[in-house]
């Protein structure tokens, strides 16, 4: 069970949130080639350890936040506004 400290709502239960994937990716620009978009859309670091990720507080303030979480221990390093 995760307890995520939303920057707007304070500590809340994980059931109020929806996971939205890897937040370390940045979208390529129009000058970048198809390969760059392939990497962005599909390829993932998928670490067994600290992971920067998007979570959406759908059941609370409905804002997106970035979370640092260990994917092996579930320890949360911190949460903040994007």
């Amino acid at each position: 069970m995760l307890r995520i400290t939303c920057p707007h709502c304070g500590p809340r239960d994980e059931i109020e949130f929806r996971y939205r994937g890897d937040a370390s990716l940045s979208r390529p620009g129009p000058e970048d080639d198809a390969k760059a978009f392939q990497r962005y859309a599909y390829e993932r670091e998928n670490p067994a350890g600290m992971h920067l990720e998007w979570w959406l507080h759908v059941g609370g303030c409905r804002r997106a936040l970035k979370l640092q979480r260990d994917t092996a221990s579930h320890v949360i390093g911190g949460a903040g506004e994007p």
């Binding site: 993932r44 994917t71 221990s73």
Partner: protein, 417 residues
């Protein structure tokens, strides 16, 4: 290999069962192999077996960091079926189903294939239409499937509360050839058959690095020393990205946890596999009598190999909504497996940017049923260098060309597959 038969069983019974031999050799690793397969799960073991049987390649080692069968091959809910939507998938999974139908004879091992049928429920007209479309796609490939109305669902499985207030059942979709197989027996059956053909099965041998020389892998560094290899094969399920990183490339994979649950044993109650179409829940009854059930993934990247409470709660709630009688049972055991979720929800049996390294991954929550066909196709790829026609659509390059196979149309979001 000591063959199993009714005669041998009778003989051993008379001799006090003193004459049985170990089913397979627990080998120590050699310095070098023609093929090193990392991961002694279903796919690694079946691949080793098919390399030996179909291609005469027996200088093969299957390495695992733990004991045999403790990965997803021994953690899944044992369902086999071929009720897919896209034609190449129906062909691949139905081929697998046909191999299951003959597997016990083939391996001389009782893997308890039970073709009890698998029922998927529809709860809205839209869902029923989608099933009808899927059924038609299957029929076009010559695979039998039946559409059931609400009364037929009730007659087939009286446990289902077809009139439940939130998600009434409007019908279903039944594949009679689908069913269950005893999962750990599959690992043991393939291990035994591969071992008998000369394959080394090496337990407690964790791969820690994959040294390269230019575009080629030299072998694998392990907790039991370096093992050289002409070819390296990765079949490590949820750990695929870690192993790929060791070899220097990224995969379109995220690792997620899926849980399973077993109740106390009861008398025969449910003689088919049932999948709820409105919530995260599917269930079958094991031969020991426990109800074996599961649901969706926990919803976020995880290597934890244990489940979280919210999904456990959701699965139980969905189960009781569908089959209120289940509320009388106690759940005895629960566990989780770390799964290789691909970006389009479909497997990858493919060559990689490393010339002599092939990978089998992306099995998501459905790779158990694929073990016989997956092993056949991966062995073919490793032995011949060309993809097996049945798995040609599972290449890694599909993410580059755009030929992704999205059965459900949810896009590159593994947490939604």
């Amino acid at each position: 290999m000591q063959r199993y038969s009714a005669f041998r069983l009778a003989l051993e019974a008379l001799r006090g069962h003193g004459g049985w031999q170990p089913a397979w050799r627990d080998a120590a690793p050699k310095d070098r192999y023609k093929v090193v397969i990392v991961g002694a799960g279903g796919h690694g073991l079946a691949t080793a077996y098919h390399l030996a049987r179909d291609h005469g390649i027996t200088d093969v080692a299957v390495l695992d960091k733990g004991p045999l069968g403790l990965g997803n091959v021994g953690r899944n809910t044992t369902i086999i079926r071929s009720n897919y939507f896209t034609a190449p998938n129906i062909r691949f999974y139905d081929h697998s189903l046909k191999l299951w139908e003959n597997l016990e004879r083939e391996l001389n091992f009782n893997v308890m294939v039970s073709q009890r049928g698998s029922l998927n429920l529809a709860h809205s007209d839209g869902q029923r239409d989608l099933f009808a479309r899927r059924a038609n796609a299957m029929r076009l490939e010559g695979v039998a499937i039946e559409m059931l109305d609400k009364d037929a669902v009730k007659a087939l499985c009286p446990l289902i509360d077809v009139d439940n207030g939130r998600y009434p059942v409007v019908g279903g979709f039944l594949q009679r050839r689908a069913g269950t197989v005893r999962h750990d027996a599959v690992a043991w059956g393939y291990a035994r058959a591969a071992s008998a053909r000369g394959v080394d099965i090496v337990q407690h041998c964790e791969v820690t690095a994959i040294p390269r020389e230019g575009a080629r892998a030299m072998g694998v560094e392990t907790t039991r020393g370096f093992i050289g290899a002409d070819k390296v094969v990765l079949a490590v399920a949820g750990h695929s990205s870690r192993l790929a990183a060791m070899a220097g490339f990224r995969l379109p994979i995220e690792t997620h946890v899926l849980q399973a649950f077993v109740t106390e044993a009861v008398k025969p109650l449910l003689d088919i596999v049932v999948t709820y179409g409105a919530g995260h829940f599917y269930v079958s009854q094991s031969d020991k009598g426990g109800l074996v059930f599961g649901g969706g993934t926990d919803g976020y990247n995880s290597y934890a190999q244990r489940g979280t409470l919210p999904m456990a709660e959701e699965v139980h709630a969905a189960g009781i909504t569908l089959m209120p009688a289940l509320s009388r049972l106690r759940t005895l055991r629960q566990w989780g497996g770390v799964m290789d979720m691909s970006m389009d929800g479909n497997p990858i049996i493919s060559t990689t940017p490393v010339e002599n390294l092939a990978v089998s991954t992306g099995w998501c929550y459905g790779g158990f049923k694929a073990i016989p066909a997956g092993g056949t196709c991966l062995a073919h790829l490793v032995a011949t260098g060309a993809p097996h026609p049945l798995a040609a659509h599972f290449g890694l390059n599909r993410f580059e060309t755009g030929a992704v196979i999205d059965e459900r149309g949810v896009g590159p979001h593994p947490y939604l597959h």
